[in-house]
């Protein structure tokens, strides 16, 4: 596998990139009560966060439990409940959970999509029965009748429907599935379960720069991989929803550190990779991430006060965490890493 950075000449994957990808790949699976927090400091601005996330993503391909399939029907029921009980009748002109004090994070528009019917929108129906755990949705009658068609899908059938604006939980077949070719070469010898290539996953999160999603995406776009047959842009490989039109499934959620919103309704991720010092500090303060492992990446060409803000946060963490650098090998010159593990006693 070759790599090119900012359209420079193709070269073998350099040591610093290999280190970051491997670090993401080697990151231990989450262990309740053993939360880990790491911070890497880099000598310059870079796509380091994206590369660590890439390594972690490859690691998840090898775990049969890393998918959203099991909880999908429950997620649809929760979405339906929010829509019918709260959002549908909300009197605010614009969604604002803080003002409304509804307890939700984002609006539920009540709309579902299916890859089988790409031009149709399905709306959560009043006929949904939460006691019986039976979801119902409706769509315009194709025969032109006034009454909508209502469906009461089984959990299995509902697997082909997903919340509008979010990735589907899985593809029905391998058409549109991710290719394992690039991933196999990026982490040589990585175990990849083919089934995972057509399933989305919410357990890994990339938290973007505070300047907005575009800033993180742009820096990731500076890196391309190439094998004998084709080229791969880093944003495509990360499978973040909306970053690539060719990816139907998404195995990394994106947390927008500017708006402090996740790109989908998802439970707390196992691992959050935070891009930038400010993002790292923000992520540590987000309620939803309090149990998640966090790997922060920052560069050192920032103001002294900003360096100190990060240092003070790390010192505060040391009250409850101990250093855990066992997994670290030899660091490339210019990178420093601190890994903290929650104290058990």
């Amino acid at each position: 596998m070759l790599v090119s950075e900012e359209n420079e000449a193709w070269q073998s994957v350099p040591r610093w990139m290999g280190f970051l990808i491997q670090m993401g790949y080697d990151w231990p699976g989450s262990n309740p009560g053993q939360r880990r927090i790491a911070l890497l400091s880099m000598p310059c601005d870079s796509a380091a966060a994206g590369l660590i996330a890439l390594g972690a993503l490859v690691k998840d391909f090898g775990d049969p439990n890393t998918n959203n399939v099991d909880g999908h029907y429950d997620a649809l029921l929760r979405y339906a409940h929010q829509y019918l009980e709260s959002c549908r009748d909300c009197d605010l002109p614009e969604c604002n959970p803080e003002v409304k004090r509804c307890g939700y994070m984002v609006k539920a528009a009540g709309r579902l999509r299916s890859l089988q019917f790409p031009r149709k929108t399905f709306t959560i129906s009043d006929k949904t029965d939460f006691k019986k755990r039976q979801i119902a949705w409706e769509y315009p009658n194709p025969a032109g009748h006034e009454d909508n068609v209502t469906q009461f899908p089984s959990p299995t059938k509902a697997m082909s429907w997903h919340i509008e604006g979010e990735p589907p939980p899985q593809l029905t077949d391998s058409v549109g599935a991710l290719s394992d070719e690039a991933y196999q070469q990026i982490v040589v010898g990585a175990k990849i379960i083919p089934d995972n290539l057509r399933k989305s996953y919410n357990g890994l999160c990339l938290a973007g720069r505070v300047y907005g999603e575009t800033a993180t995406r742009e820096v990731c776009e500076s890196i391309r991989f190439r094998d004998a047959s084709r080229e791969y842009f880093l944003p495509d490989l990360l499978t973040i929803h909306g970053w690539s039109s060719s990816n139907l499934v998404s195995r990394i959620t994106f947390f927008n550190a500017r708006t402090e919103k996740l790109d989908r309704r998802a439970p707390a991720p196992s691992l959050v990779v935070a891009d930038g010092d400010t993002c790292f500090l923000k992520v540590l303060g987000i309620r939803e991430f309090q149990q998640s492992d966090v790997i922060g990446v920052m560069h050192r060409t920032i103001k002294h006060d900003e360096l100190e803000a990060v240092g003070n946060r790390l010192i505060a963490l040391r009250q409850w965490y101990v250093e855990d650098s066992e997994m670290l090998g030899c660091l490339p010159r210019g990178i420093s890493v601190l890994i903290l593990k929650k104290r058990t006693s």
Binding site: C44, R300, G334
Partner: protein, 540 residues
């Protein structure tokens, strides 16, 4: 960013350690100048006189600039000092002979500098010339306002000027520049304040050699080059020791070898003062909150005394019949001597605004005179004001401001002392016919009261209150000298202020039995009568 991350790592991989070439330059005259001024800064800093504190702050900034910017040795250095402090005589009058001695030494040193070139500028010229000769790419990191001082290094027609892109002024500039050979930094490496530079210079170098040119004694901040990650590791790398020749230190993940080169000589010009004291470090510590302050003891009997901050001007009485001004503000040990009396006012309701001047009544008088003098011969007025000790930097614009008619406030000098100088120079202090009664305070006091009222200041609040009360009591007591003598002759120790002076209360007279320096006491225990056995615990 003009390079890729891979190029950055390649660059770091190529060198085992970066190199800091530290040129420490010494100069006897400059050393004498900075040491003298530093001592003045420290001495005035211990005062509770606002004017002294202001002078201390201004001098501190001046020295800091000289130590972090390659200024030329020219008349501007001397002028800056003289504009701040005034003449030698004025310095002695205001702050005593010890400050004057230091000031005179500084003045002499500044005069000496006029005849020599700055050795740090010579060193910079030589370093840059050599880099150019070797065709090395280099940058200069400095504050934007310091840039002209570098540009003038090559200002003669034969010189090749420094290109604009040679200069880096911010962490952003540094972040966005490409890789280069050498970085020139004048002054110590500091994260904040004068001469500040980004920590990235050491923890994220884009160059091979850091050429640092510093005045001798100016040390880098110990925590400069802070990497939050490396600093939080269990076994932080050893760092922080002052650089020695060929010392190797680690800053974050980057290693540096420091080579120190000394030049020039500074034998030390002020007795008892080390030549290696780092002014910038001293000034930084000055900003830290202090529990105790230096103080001078005025013993008022066998068992009691009063501690005063240094350079406090104490309201006092000189019983000597020959004394020209028996009541005055005196400095302990300088002009307040044994046998004199400390006067402590015990004032009830102070009626500083008791004079029934309408808003702007007195101001109309002095402002008219000011406008008249300013329009007749502005240069002459400014010259006379400066000679009298009104040394504001932008005096012209200040005068224009004071000429403005009263609005919601009366535009006037901020300090009473400046205001008095202004009135004295204008000649309106004692010739106002509108004074209603002869035993009333002088025009300057009345006009100042009017200004204060217009500013809405609380009469009984804060620091200025004491100065104002002392000033007003001084005025009153000056008219009561016979009564004071009579009181003392009858072995009395207090005097009730008669009615009609705008102040109700009395003054207590404490005879000075002795004066002793070298105490360090809590602020709350200054300027109050304490038992000597209590005071003894604060001996330095």
């Amino acid at each position: 960013m003009q390079f890729t991350t891979s190029q950055m790592f390649d660059f770091l991989e190529q060198q085992e350690a970066g190199t800091i070439e530290r040129h420490e330059v010494a100069s006897a005259s400059f050393g004498a100048l900075r040491r003298s001024l530093r001592q003045i800064v420290l001495k005035l800093r211990d005062s509770d006189d606002q004017e002294a504190l202001n002078a201390s702050d201004q001098l501190r900034a001046l020295i800091s600039e000289w130590l972090t910017v390659p200024v030329s040795f020219d008349h501007l250095m001397l002028d800056a000092m003289v504009n701040m402090l005034g003449s030698s005589e004025a310095v002695q009058t205001r702050w005593g002979s010890d400050i004057r001695i230091l000031y005179d030494a500084a003045h002499r040193a500044a005069m000496d500098l006029l005849s020599i070139d700055s050795p740090v500028r010579e060193k910079l010229r030589a370093v840059i010339g050599e880099l150019r000769r070797q065709e090395r790419t280099f940058k200069i990191y400095c504050h934007r306002r310091a840039r002209p001082h570098f540009e003038t290094l090559f200002s003669s027609p034969a010189d090749e000027p420094l290109p604009v892109n040679t200069f880096l002024h911010s962490v952003r500039d540094y972040r966005e520049t490409g890789l280069f050979d050498d970085l020139i930094k004048f002054g110590p490496l500091r994260a904040r304040g004068w001469g500040a530079a980004p920590d990235a210079l050491l923890i994220a170098p884009r160059f091979n050699i850091l050429i640092q040119i510093v005045w001798s004694g100016c040390n880098d901040e110990q925590d400069f080059g802070y990497d939050p990650v490396s600093s939080t590791l269990d076994a932080p790398p050893a760092e922080g020791a002052p650089p020695t020749s060929d010392m190797c230190a680690r800053h974050g993940p980057v290693k540096w070898i420091t080579r120190v080169m000394l030049s020039g000589d500074d034998p030390g010009a002020v007795a008892g003062d080390s030549r290696d004291i780092d002014e910038l470090q001293v000034f930084r510590e000055m900003n830290l909150p202090r529990e105790n302050r230096p103080a001078t003891l005025v013993q008022v009997n066998g068992e009691h005394g009063i501690l005063y901050p240094p350079h406090t001007r104490i309201l006092s009485f000189d019983p000597n019949q020959a004394a020209r001004e028996p009541v005055g503000l005196r400095i302990p040990g300088e002009t307040l001597l044994e046998g004199m009396y400390v006067i402590m006012p015990s004032i009830g309701d102070v009626d500083l605004g008791g004079v029934q001047a309408e808003h702007g009544h007195f101001s109309q008088i002095w402002k008219a005179r000011l406008r008249e003098s300013f329009s007749a011969d502005a240069a002459d007025l400014i010259k006379r004001l400066r000679a009298a000790g009104l040394n504001l930097v932008s005096l012209v614009s200040a005068i224009r401001h004071w000429c403005n008619a009263p609005s919601t406030v009366i535009h006037a000098p901020q300090k009473l002392s400046h205001f008095k100088i202004l009135l004295q120079v204008l000649g309106v202090d004692n010739d106002d016919n509108s004074r209603p009664r002869s035993n009333f305070p002088p025009f300057s006091q009345l006009a100042w009261n009017e200004i204060r009222r217009s500013r809405g200041e609380a009469i009984q609040a804060g620091f200025q209150e004491h100065e104002i009360i002392d000033e007003q009591v001084l005025t009153i007591l000056s008219a009561l000298v016979p009564q004071i003598r009579e009181t003392l002759a009858n072995e009395g120790y207090f005097l009730v202020i008669p009615e009609g002076y705008g102040i109700n209360g009395l003054v207590i007279l404490f005879k000075v039995h002795g004066i002793e320096e070298g105490f360090s006491a809590p602020v709350t225990d200054l300027k109050v009568v304490r038992e000597l056995r209590v005071i003894d615990q604060w001996r330095g």
